[in-house]
């Protein structure tokens, strides 16, 4: 069966993207490797003058029998050691990227060996069987990838959509580029498709139609929510109906721990899944549903290998990625060569199967962390306290099924000063409790920091506005950043802070 080609969405591009031409210098760079041409064309320094004869590294070895975080003692059975030489001629294994290439100019899309691995990985995980001309493009991580999306699609004054609470840096990036971010109502399962549909069907026709939906479907930041496959399908249909691009920002995609079970019902022996079970158990991505090339998927090694790799990739149609490539030639050029060769070597040494072992191991670590966090939250937080009049719980913890974050929802109206000193302003409770937690020696982050507060010009109808539970505030915590014992202690302090602040 031959697959259809992606559609042309270039009419959605920003003025910048529409006006940009590829650098004329790039039209002759292919002659650099032409044996018949002596290349006096570009300022490429000779690799003789790169001051690294070789670099090497030691990494853990699949299938990581003692867990992915186990210390390595250099023994052969636990570790792989590899050397990346300067010259191509000294390369020991096919697929290695010599320093003379990755430390030179060129290959703005990414080094071929890295891209090859990522293409295969993308096929393994997302199938990519709906249109033919998809590809991957290396980025410096999802912060940079999102910044590029804004540059490619948005002019000042444009509108985009995002979850009603979303990653503050992503929102700020849009705002500072003069792009308005309109909030879409969400619950603990993410964007509510019917609300999205209502907003779009009733969009103020004098305001520019939204060009993009920015979403973090898995382990959403900050709410910890995850979109179901069904909701994704509905949202994708809305993208077609209302003609916008979906940007799925998926740094936490492989931290899918599944449903939380309380200690009583939880199985004490976790069975390691087969690769097939693991892959089949993952949430369906937007990009895997996409038969038109209107989804851009931002993938990143930040949460899976390390943030400082500053390496990620975009999956999408070649038509769109070419425009990103032209932008990158004038902004980042390419991710750093050391990062590309080291990450590529690590992944290619592991192989696709070894990388799945790593991801399975990582998920295991985060499952233990998530379970420990939720156990401790249920133990230390006053989850059984309810308001005497309304019967509303003081604090709710919905265990996340994915990601790094848990959220504690608080009914601000139960604060003793709510009706008096705080003038019924939930924000004042948020501020007071934030100060309290720091005083008690733990840090969780106010949900207010993540509010999507944009409004279009002219404004949308009132009914489109997010209606949160009145007086509800929330705080974002993470089980990622500290070891288990410290986390338990931190959550205990959180409980103390909550009791003190609410006079229990």
């Amino acid at each position: 069966m031959t697959l259809p080609e992606s559609k042309d969405f270039s009419y959605l591009f920003s003025d910048e993207a529409k006006s940009r031409k590829p650098s004329p210098l790039k039209t002759c760079i292919h002659l650099f490797n032409d044996p018949n041409i002596i290349f006096l064309g570009g300022g490429l320094p000779l690799s003789n003058y790169f001051p690294w004869k070789e670099i090497s590294a030691i990494s853990p070895k699949p299938p990581f029998p003692n867990g992915i975080g186990a210390p390595i003692k250099n023994a052969d059975e636990e570790a792989i050691e590899y050397i990346i030489p300067k010259a191509k001629a000294e390369i020991r294994e096919e697929g290695d990227i010599p320093l003379e290439r990755c430390l030179q100019y060129g290959f703005s899309q990414g080094q071929p060996e890295l891209l090859k691995f990522l293409r295969k990985h993308t096929e393994v995980i997302h199938k990519m069987d709906k249109y033919s001309d998809w590809d991957v493009l290396a980025t410096i991580g999802n912060t940079g990838g999102w910044e590029s999306c804004l540059r490619v699609f948005c002019n000042r004054g444009d509108n985009i959509l995002a979850e009603a609470h979303s990653f503050s840096s992503s929102l700020s990036a849009a705002l500072s580029q003069g792009v308005n971010v309109f909030p879409i109502p969400m619950d603990e399962f993410g964007i509510i498709p019917s609300k999205l549909e209502f907003i779009l069907d009733n969009w103020n026709e004098k305001a520019p139609k939204p060009k993009l939906l920015y979403t973090i479907p898995t382990g959403q930041n900050p709410t910890g929510s995850s979109l179901s496959d069904e909701r994704k399908f509905e949202i994708y249909q809305l993208a077609k109906k209302h003609d916008f691009i979906i940007v799925e920002d998926e740094p936490y995609y492989f931290l899918q721990m599944g449903k939380y079970e309380s200690p009583e019902t939880r199985s004490s022996v976790e069975k390691k899944p087969t690769h097939e079970e693991f892959v089949n158990g993952l949430a369906k991505s937007f990009v895997s549903l996409d038969d038109e090339g209107r989804v851009l998927r931002l993938d990143s090694f930040s949460k899976v290998l390390a943030p400082g790799t500053r390496l990620g990739w975009i999956v999408g149609s070649k038509k769109l990625l070419t425009t990103f490539l032209y932008l990158h030639e004038m902004t980042i050029q390419a991710p750093a060569g050391f990062t590309q060769t080291l990450v590529s070597k690590t992944l290619n040494s592991w192989g696709q199967d070894g990388y799945l072992d790593w991801l399975i191991g990582l998920r295991h670590e985060y499952t233990v962390k998530r379970d420990t966090a939720i156990d401790a939250l249920r133990q230390h937080l006053p989850v059984d306290i309810r308001d005497k009049t309304t019967n509303e719980p003081l604090v709710v913890v919905n265990p996340p099924v994915a990601g790094m974050f848990f959220v504690i929802n608080i009914d601000a109206s139960q604060h003793p000063k709510f009706n008096t000193e705080f003038n019924k302003d939930p924000k004042k409770v948020e501020k007071a409790f934030y100060e309290k937690v720091i005083q008690k020696g733990v840090l969780v982050v106010p949900g207010g920091w993540f509010e999507t507060t944009g409004e279009t010009v002219p404004p949308q109808p009132k009914e489109s506005k997010v209606v949160l539970k009145p007086n509800e505030i929330f705080f974002r915590g993470t089980y990622a950043a500290v070891p288990l014992d410290k986390m338990k202690e931190g959550i205990k302090r959180l409980g103390v802070a909550l009791r003190e602040e609410f006079g229990l």
Copy 2:
């Protein structure tokens, strides 16, 4: 003597920079290292899960007695070998950046050990004795650094200034952001201050005043010209008078080979300069003249260590750099951790003196390359042919004193088809000769690719327009990209192409 503080130039900022607030998440990141706080605030993965136990590298060892390009055979006297461990506790030498830190989030300004080296280096080279609050900020190279300058200062419709021929990617970056680049006349010694003054004094007052001058003072791309210290001083005074920021893009700064001497007068034994002689012999930078903080200097390792390091830095006032930092938190975050730790380790192992040895060695290599190129150009190009009527030379080669590029200037009117088939259009000669050189197996790049062609709205007075020699075209070649013997062969082919094309 206490130095004055830099001035506040924030009124020149773009709307974007003016409206940007630091991310609220960054207001609590300092608590990450507070021993009294259990940090459940941010999604920072544990470094246990970074799959690199250590990385290591082999670099040449100062003072590089056999030249900086000599192959290393791993012998102790020629090489240094270093290991960068994951954990801080395993660090062997002060100043090393452990992987657990450089592969984590944070330090958007750059890793402290790298910044410390760069600050000291900046003092050694540029003195920085005119104002107190200067600093350095790590970048992903000068392409990214310049992109950030545009974002920090320019709105769509703003005007900036640049050399009449300049690096095409830098020009395109401005154009695609909707920024107009007005050309400043230049000769083989760079920007002509009197012309710049005339343009600014007669600036069409209805057009926004230029906010920036973008200049490549040393070994300019594409013309190979270098600005004298005197001209820099004059231009800096004009920046004060007309209140604009100077951005000096200096990737070629350390390739200052000095005046070309013909083989007859050239000394066969080159004396290696002392560090003091070397530093004192360097051109004065704009940043070294700056007593107000209105100069931003873009420095890069691309030409000095390797382009793929994707690492550079900006020197400027803290006031300006803080605004860059806030931008970078939403775009690049920070240069890749592997690059920062490896480059920092290399430099700190060499020390400031060792790095000067490297730079002296690099200059030597480029001096030999430049001399060989100019010798060959004088030998193989028809430099003695003159027009019978006008007595204008057909081809002129002005030996560069710095950088990677040579330029051959051609009198297009001497082309046999100039008055007939080509309709007296020098561009047609340029195109024909470009095709001819490729046909003859060598690549040099048309000067037309680098033209600064911007015009303000409303336009500037006619007298401000660049007047080039009529019918002059030029081609940019480099002696950087190929070994000496290949370069000589390439230049020979260039001579053949020129003779054939011009019917000699």
